[in-house]
Structures are given as C-alpha cells and as structure tokens.
Symmetry: C3
Subunit: 179 residues, 3 copies
C-alpha cells in the first residue's frame, strides 16, 4: 500500500474509534416502572452519571409516566377510561408507591423520613437536580396515547418520542438500563 | 516499521473495528417477566429494532415463558407440581396479567381495548410480527426443566438454550436489556 | 505522513481498540430486586459469565441487600424504624420470597424442591459458587445507610461503595443489566 493511502486509512480508523469511544460519554435508561424505589434508583444513577460529565437520556414509558405527572393534572377532554386511570394512578413523585412495604402509602413516607435523616435527597429533588444538570427526558408518545395522557399533564421541559428515539440513543451509549 | 508490516497492521485493525461496530446491528433481551405490560414493552422494542434492520435475540426465562405457551398446552406426562404450575400460570399472551391495575384480569382487557382504539397492535400480533421479521427467540432450557415445561408446550419456531447462548449473544450486541 | 509518525498512530490505535475489546471480558449487574427468582437469575448469569472467564461485578442495592444479609443479623444499635425493617425483611437467600406464586413463603420452598429434582443448585450455593469463582459484590452504601444496615449485617468478603463505583464498572463492560 502507498504511504498516502495508508495515512488516509489510519485517519479513517481514528474517526471510527473516536466514535466507538464516545459511547462511554452517554448513558440511556428506559424508566418503565413507576415504583418509588425504582424511580429513585433511576434518578440516583442519572445524577451520578451527570456528575461524571455524561450525557443521560431517560426514555419514560408505561407506569414510569406517573413520576412525570403534574400533581394538578386534570381529566378535561379525557374519555371515561382515561379519567378512571387518571384518578387511580399516582400523580408525580410524591405520590408514588414503593414496590415492597408500601403499606397503603405509609412505606414511601417512612422511606422519605429515613432518607431525610441520612441526608439523601427526596425523589422530587433528585428529578429537579437531574433536569437542571441536563438530563434529557423523553416521554413515550404511544404509552401516553393509550392511557390518554396529554403533553400538558406532564412536567415542563421534557420531550416526546417513540421507540426509535430510544433505540438510536441506546446505539450511541455504552450502557443502557431497563428500570 | 516497514510499510508492508504497517499495511498489515492497519488491515487487522480495520477488521477489529468492523467487529466492534457490528455490535450496533444487534440487540439482545432477557425476557424474565411474564407481565402483560412488560412483555408488550419487550416486543415493541424488538419490533422497533427489527424495523431498523437490527438482528434481535430474546432469551425468555422464568415467568416470561408464560408468554410463549400455547393456550392448549396440556399436563400429560407432568408430575403433580408441574401440573399445578401448568394450571395456575397464564398460557400465552392473551392470558397474561398486568403488573399494576390487573383487577383480577380486567386490567389487560381494558388495556387491549384502549390499545385497539389507538391502533396499537395487541401483544399476540406484536409477537407474530416480530417472529415474521426474524426475531430469534431462545427459551431457557433450565427454567423449562424446573417448571416441567416441554418443548411442545411452547410456540413453534423458537429455539432452546442456556445462559451461555444468552451471554454470547449479549457479547455481540451493543445493547442488552433485562426486562 | 511520515512512516514513523504513521507507525506511532497505528500503535496508539491498537491500544485504543484493545481497550474497547476488553469490555467483552467484563459484565456488570445491578441487583435491585430481592425476589428469590430474580436473585436466582442474577446469580445464574453471574456464574455463567464467570465460567466463561469474565470478570463480573454485582452492585447490590435496595431489596437486593436482603440476599446478602446474614440470617443471624441483629438489631443492636439500630433505631426503631431500622429495627422494624430488620424484623420484616428476609435475611439471606433462604428467606427470599418469589415475585409470583409466593403463597406466604411456600413458593420458594416448592421451587427449591423442583430445582433440586432437576439438579439445579439452590440460590445460596449459586451465591457461594460465584464468590468462590471471583464475583465482586459491591453493596450500595447509601441504601445501607437509609435502611440502617451495617457492614457486619452482610456477608463477609464483599465491598461497599456508591453509584460511582457502579458507573465506572459499567463503562468498562460491554453488558450491564439492571435486575
């Protein structure tokens, strides 16, 4: 091979290796669960990665959407099933149940108390912190459609998209978690 | 270094980088859960990835096997515990419970109704679609042994294997999800 | 480009590609769940990967910590809430409930019986085996603090750390699972 040709190939390879290494600067999560403890775990990981300078994308779907709901979310313009789901599901991080030891809603309160005593931020603060540090939240459009959740029902400052958005983020990330 | 030697090294590197990049064309999932909503999420992701031209392998284990069962699955040749499990567990995608709001089986029916109204395919169609588009399903042989599930109890066109199959798939994939 | 310069660049690239390929020799898991079946799945995967010569790190957090507890774990020096949690939560692999078909604790016993009949190791043996084969277990310090779990309450031979440990392990691994 000619030296010049070789030099071109090496440069091309450098670009490709750069791209492969760049995956380490990104983290992708699917937040499927709406359980207090899992949402907390997801946002602790997100905050940790953001603090390490990573770009983090959280694709939020199904019950995970409960964590993004505004507490004042209403039922106007929803059909009867959508209204029922709105009434029955938690609205926002302070209403989420724990996956174990929920005890009719006392569990999350106990955890919050115990977390406060150990100076661990409550989930709502973890969420705010992450968004301030640049967390990209993408709410799953299809889940929203099925459950009758409108854009204005969810937190401001988030994006909306489908599984293709999640997959393309994931293909640029070294680590992808399903929570 | 000689120009020829250098040229060989560059070619070798190209092959290795090709292989690393090829991971982006594959996706691996473990489907551990047999909950309607999680099975649905897994197959929506699988279909999305297949539509983007990826090779997708789903390693199905534990409760996830419920989704692969034929509704007519029988109990012949099973011992008493295996019979009990066969009777008590859902058989196929139409019998799966939701992880939240199941309400004794009404939940999945409501979801199916709401999905239909928004033109979202039911789980059984998502599964068929994925398999037509080339999804590779590997049922966990060890889980089948423990729960007394026979090959003929599960969908046609799937493979059977152990954790080594999952791991080698995962090592060729950029993204691996535990659902 | 000069031949010498080129040669240097190729060597540098080799080092970077070596590092990217080395990710395939490592596997990272978060064990969030304390359910018998999920803990079992996590340790079967860990043992499989260890048998294939991989380095495996398991970051254990929230309910997953139940699996690491010594059965004789006491309540001395704990406050009233921490004592309550200690009393109510399972202590060690033999006390874990299954996520489905628990039937007040009969489920895990049935599974253990069925696993024994098919020569599948019980969870406690899977854990011991994995640790003998070099599994690195890191217990989440923050979860321990919140729930009042002390180092001496957990298995010997494990490490303690935070989300940063998990993230740095994950960035050196091709595959990371959230169980």
């Amino acid at each position: 091979m000619e030296n010049q040709e070789l030099s071109q190939k090496v440069q091309e390879l450098q670009g490709r290796v750069d791209k492969l290494e760049a995956k380490n600067s990104r983290l992708t999560m699917i937040l499927f669960s709406g359980d207090f403890d899992k949402v907390m775990a997801a946002f602790i990981i997100a905050n940790g990665a953001l603090a390490m300078g990573k770009e983090v994308t959280m694709f939020v779907t199904f019950w995970g959407l409960d964590a993004l709901k505004k507490p004042e979310m209403g039922t106007a313009g929803k059909n009867i099933l959508e209204k029922m789901i709105t009434w029955m599901r938690p609205k926002g991080p302070t209403q989420l149940p724990t996956s174990k030891m929920n005890f009719g809603g006392i569990g999350p309160k106990l955890f919050k108390y115990m977390m406060g005593k150990k100076n661990v931020e409550p989930v709502s603060s973890l969420m705010e912190m992450a968004m301030e540090f640049g967390l990209r939240i993408v709410a799953c459009q299809m889940s929203m459609d099925v459950m009758g959740i409108k854009k204005e029902d969810l937190l401001d400052g988030i994006e909306f998209g489908g599984v293709a958005v999640f997959l393309s983020e994931s293909y640029g990330s070294n680590t992808t978690l399903f929570v």
